[in-house]
């Protein structure tokens, strides 16, 4: 009823293979973008932007990156935090060395550094598989964390060992640093995320994406049909790390405003993996839903008691939110192991046949 594709005829291959072949999808995306770009900055509070929306977008981008690797290519990685750190620290160095270059260009460039490092640590992936590879990527995580502490050049020899974001402007408006308004930062993050997501969406439905998926489904078979395993896997590592690197740079420059090595610790890697799996492996929508849930749920749980007028100790709230988050993860996995994205598909199907049950 609401989602009828009947009557939407395609008269060319191009139209048939469009990114959004269904009219409702196009309208839906347009509405979402309109709300995100116009309505949200006009109405949302500073806390909403700073602590909810910006992090959700940043983490969604990182989750997209990991999803390309884990969801589409089937290579489990626990080094996401480290790769994000590479992006963040290279962006910081670039911003110091080239103070006059547009900060957005630098953020995107820092992704390239992350891609290079990611490729390097992807090298063992041809020989090592499954959980063994996951643990091998942990080596990258711990080694990179150690580098962020031990190479003082990376943080400009600051005594504290942490990096603070300098103020940079775009068309005279501060974009980074303490004087940048939440709305500006939100819009910049949103733009970058939208563009990169569009890129990812096109990547995964093209030749490269199909190669990745072939490798994921069975790498031996993929090799037999002429896919060069090594290049494909390394490309996945590179692209994935690029996304993570950009996300890391945004995490520091547009969200936290400063960072120390702990911001890119192993826990960050796990959190991003959560988002990918709860959201749905191999789904770009899933990365966003996962990020929204994993980031939003603890905040919701933290503020819920006060909202309902119950006063609890802050520590109790924290502990309970851990408890509930853990339980919810298990429940979600039991109910829908394919993630939130799958729930949306089911919902879509329901909308299509409504008001009939099937």
């Amino acid at each position: 009823m609401f989602y009828r594709e009947v009557g939407q005829f395609k008269s060319s291959y191009a139209a048939d293979q469009a990114l959004l072949p269904i009219l409702q999808d196009r309208i839906g995306i347009a509405v979402i973008l309109l709300v995100a770009f116009v309505a949200v900055p006009l109405t949302a509070s500073g806390f909403m932007l700073d602590s909810v929306l910006i992090p959700i977008l940043v983490f969604a981008l990182a989750a997209t990156g990991l999803n390309l690797l884990t969801g589409y290519t089937g290579l489990l990685s626990l080094g996401t935090g480290g790769f994000m750190g590479v992006g963040a620290y290279s962006c910081y160095k670039l911003a110091t060395i080239f103070p006059n270059v547009n900060i957005i260009v630098l953020i995107l460039c820092s992704g390239l550094f992350a891609a290079a490092i990611g490729t390097l640590f992807g090298l063992p992936s041809l020989r090592i598989k499954g959980f063994y590879l996951a643990v091998a990527t942990l080596a990258a995580q711990f080694f990179l964390s150690w580098c962020f502490i031990r190479i003082p050049w990376l943080y400009n020899y600051n005594i504290s060992g942490s990096i603070e974001v300098p103020t940079r402007t775009l068309f005279g408006i501060p974009v980074t640093g303490p004087t940048a308004s939440s709305e500006t930062r939100y819009l910049v993050v949103l733009s970058i995320v939208v563009v990169l997501t569009l890129l990812a969406a096109n990547l995964v439905r093209g030749r490269i994406g199909r190669m990745w998926m072939a490798v994921r489904d069975m790498d031996l078979a993929a090799e037999l049909i002429g896919i060069r395993l090594y290049q494909t896997k390394l490309l996945a590592f590179a692209v994935s790390s690029f996304y993570c690197g950009v996300a890391g740079a945004m995490l520091v420059f547009l969200y936290l405003g400063s960072a120390d090595p702990e911001s890119f610790s192993i826990n960050q890697s796990f959190l991003i993996l959560f988002m990918v799996i709860i959201g749905g492996l191999g789904s770009l929508l899933g990365a966003f839903l996962g990020a929204a849930l994993i980031r939003g749920l603890p905040i919701l749980l933290r503020h819920a008691p006060a909202y309902f007028g119950v006063s609890l100790q802050s520590a109790t709230v924290e502990q309970t939110s851990y408890l509930i988050l853990g339980a919810l993860i298990i429940v979600f996995l039991i109910v829908e192991p394919h993630g939130l994205a799958r729930l949306w598909q089911i919902g879509k199907q329901k909308l299509r046949v409504w008001p009939f049950p099937y």
């Binding site: 489990l76 150690w146 959560f274 520590a315 851990y322 988050l325 853990g326 993860i329």
Partner: protein, 318 residues
């Protein structure tokens, strides 16, 4: 040239020059290796029998130790608290099997892996809610564990052997032998191995998967409790211990996910390797390399044997 000297000559010169420190490093490495091996053992048990990569093993260590100390602080005598903690671990095993594993049966490995993450969060929340976040002192002496140390003279210097470490080594060996007997000599063990080989085949010959899972999760809980007691006695019992569980991961890749001897030998290699590396080569790069050195050792082994030292050979078919 100077660098080469620092890497290849001076550490060995130090080893020869101060043999007492070398022996001490080796001993410390072996002891932490035993403890890594214990955590890894918990992983292996569960992976072998259910194919679940149980990330929650680390928090189970903390949870078991906290339960023990918490019960003692509420006036339960030490040994009774130990017994009660075992009951709690059994309840946990039942809970995990009934509420988490059974509904998730036949799901891909990564989903089960993820579920154990959920379990980790759940146990962190539950543990802190019940026992509070403040660290507690392990009731080592009340449990009859020795304290103090022996001093052994070695070539001009001395080596200090903590009694608790010796006890840890003995208890770990007993557990390993016990598990070995359980796996190889009993009916349950045969069933466990059958399940490890193939869930379907095991089911078809009438082995109850549910029962097996409860047994392995309980066994992993017992291993966790032993680890928690030992590690808790060395520092204290707090949630920071959970981080140490990550050390078991390189042990696992080194030893192979499915091999009990692999976990032990892997643990010892990693323990000794990282202590030697950190002590003799660490200062070259500013120290603190213990956090990743173990992974590098494991990675090097892995490049030659992708399934770990003792892992079952990976055979790929189309």
């Amino acid at each position: 040239m100077h660098l080469l000297y620092d890497i290849f000559v001076s550490p060995f010169a130090q080893m020869v020059g101060a043999p007492d420190l070398l022996v001490q490093t080796l001993w410390d490495g072996l002891v932490s290796g035993v403890l890594y091996a214990l955590i890894a053992l918990g992983f292996v048990l569960i992976f072998k029998a259910s194919g679940v990569f149980n990330f929650a093993q680390g928090i189970m260590v903390v949870f078991a130790a906290l339960t023990l100390v918490g019960l003692y602080q509420h006036g339960v005598p030490a040994y009774a608290a130990l017994a009660l903690t075992l009951v709690v671990m059994l309840v946990l095993a039942f809970g995990v099997e009934r509420l988490m594993l059974r509904p998730l049966v036949n799901q891909p490995e990564i989903i089960l892996f993820m579920a154990t993450f959920g379990l980790t969060y759940f146990l962190i929340g539950l543990g802190e809610l019940i026992f509070g976040g403040d660290p507690k002192v392990m009731i080592a002496s009340q449990l009859g564990l020795p304290s103090g140390s022996y001093r052994v003279t070695v070539a001009r210097g001395f080596v200090q052997l903590q009694k608790i470490d010796i006890a840890a080594a003995i208890i770990a060996s007993i557990m390993v032998v016990g598990l070995g007997v359980l796996f190889n000599r009993t009916r349950i063990g045969r069933a466990l191995r059958a399940v490890a080989d193939s869930h379907k085949a095991a089911l078809s010959v009438g082995i109850s998967l549910e029962q097996i899972w409860v047994i392995v999760w309980f066994a992993a809980g017992v291993v966790a409790l032993a680890t928690g007691i030992m590690w808790g006695a060395r520092s204290d019992v707090s949630f920071a211990l959970e981080i140490i569980a990550l050390k078991a991961l390189p042990v696992l890749i080194l030893g192979g996910f499915t091999s009990i001897p692999g976990a032990i030998i892997g643990g010892l290699i990693i323990g000794v390797g990282e202590k030697l590396g950190d002590f003799y080569w660490g200062p070259l790069v500013g120290g603190g390399i213990e956090s990743w050195f173990a992974y590098v050792i494991a990675l090097v082994f892995l490049l030659f044997r992708p399934q770990g030292l003792f892992g079952e050979r990976i055979i790929e078919r189309l």
